[in-house]
Symmetry: C2
Subunit: 232 residues, 2 copies
């Protein structure tokens, strides 16, 4: 593992303030692995043996049921997943697959739980991480229950623009089918939702989106800090 990557992991909120010893112990027990695109890393209903940290690439968290399948979230570098299952020593509620060739740090669940018991700073960081994650899912649930598909898309675009966009330009950097599943709709419906947004200040050319009239899109989307702001 390159020192640069180690530093980036160390900078994660989860590890930032832990003792050097804790961090080194965790790292020594871990595996850094490369995976090709499209590989299923973990499967729901299987035990959570490792805490996963995405160093490079992108991972899709998804769940199946009733013959249907839906995406719960996307994890980008540097982000961790299935922390809750690891802590509870329980089975995964979600599956995970790589969306791109990815580099994943796998920390044994036992090590995580031991480190937590030994290092109060680590436990404290875990509390913060869990509380944030909890609130994120509550926001997702509100998003799903209170909005139509087109509204979810509009707000997703506005958030992308704020976080990553430049001058009203947003690129959809995942397959549209994946975005559709994340937004809780079918790919067909996403196409139509994008078409709808053309009447609300948005220009669409493939995966390149341009928000020409931000205020009109905002009027349609009704963004709500209690759903759309990450840092609340």
């Amino acid at each position: 593992m390159r020192q640069e990557d180690i530093d980036r992991v160390r900078a994660l909120r989860l590890f930032r303030d832990v003792a050097d010893e804790t961090f080194e112990t965790l790292l020594r027990a871990s595996f850094l692995q490369r995976f090709p695109r499209g590989l299923t890393l973990i499967r729901e209903s299987e035990p959570a043996d490792f805490l996963h940290v995405v160093i490079e690439g992108a991972v899709e968290m998804f769940a199946a049921g009733n013959g249907r399948e839906t995406t719960i979230s996307l994890v980008h570098p540097i982000g961790a997943f299935i922390l809750a299952a690891v802590l509870k020593d329980q089975v995964n509620l979600q599956s995970a697959r790589t969306l791109e060739p990815s580099q994943i740090l796998m920390i044994p669940a036992v090590s995580v739980r031991q480190a937590m018991e030994r290092d109060p700073a680590f436990m404290s960081a875990i509390v913060a991480e869990l509380a944030t994650g909890y609130r994120t899912v509550v926001k997702d649930l509100k998003n799903q229950k209170l909005r139509t598909g087109a509204e979810r898309l509009a707000n997703w675009l506005l958030r992308q623009e704020k976080e990553r966009g430049a001058g009203g330009k947003v690129e959809i950097d995942v397959e549209k089918r994946t975005l559709a599943a994340l937004l809780g709709m079918t790919p067909e419906n996403l196409s139509r939702a994008l078409a709808t947004l053309k009447q609300h200040g948005v220009a669409v050319r493939g995966a390149q989106i341009e928000i020409n009239e931000r205020d009109r899109l905002v009027r349609f989307a009704h963004p709500d800090p209690l759903i759309d702001d990450y840092d609340i």
Copy 2:
């Protein structure tokens, strides 16, 4: 506060293993209050000043947006709510109102955070509580995204029967409008969903439900432990 109630709070997973001193400090700083039915205890977007524990009665957690409103969860004795907001010293993402005359223990947020810093056992309990809560919301999200309204109702009935029911009899112990909001549908739709279930082994008389042919209902509901089991 009656000793009996104190003991019941002490028995909560959140407090079970904390030091006596921690528990007493928290209690001394707290208020125990009675509220009439229908009172809004906390409002979303307002700061989370107290951790709330339902001693008696019932509380509905809900959220508004887009002119719509939806129920996130119901809290019964003995259960705590808005822990995550309290820990992050942030605003509430949900509002709370009493569904019945209720008795609520209000623990100042500052006290909770201080106690957490001082008592590792308390922090450890908080980690468990947050991890469980996180997984509960993920299940709710899957429930919402992977199932139709009638399926959610069917699975809700099956769970009620398992937890509280006797011999296939289930009583809907909240207003149906509230249940509808919890299940993510309109009251009209809940009526129709109940009517639908009559074709799948269920008898309905007002709020009294009877599951006559459990296997038929199960065949319709497709229950999934990764969504419907509380203890996973």
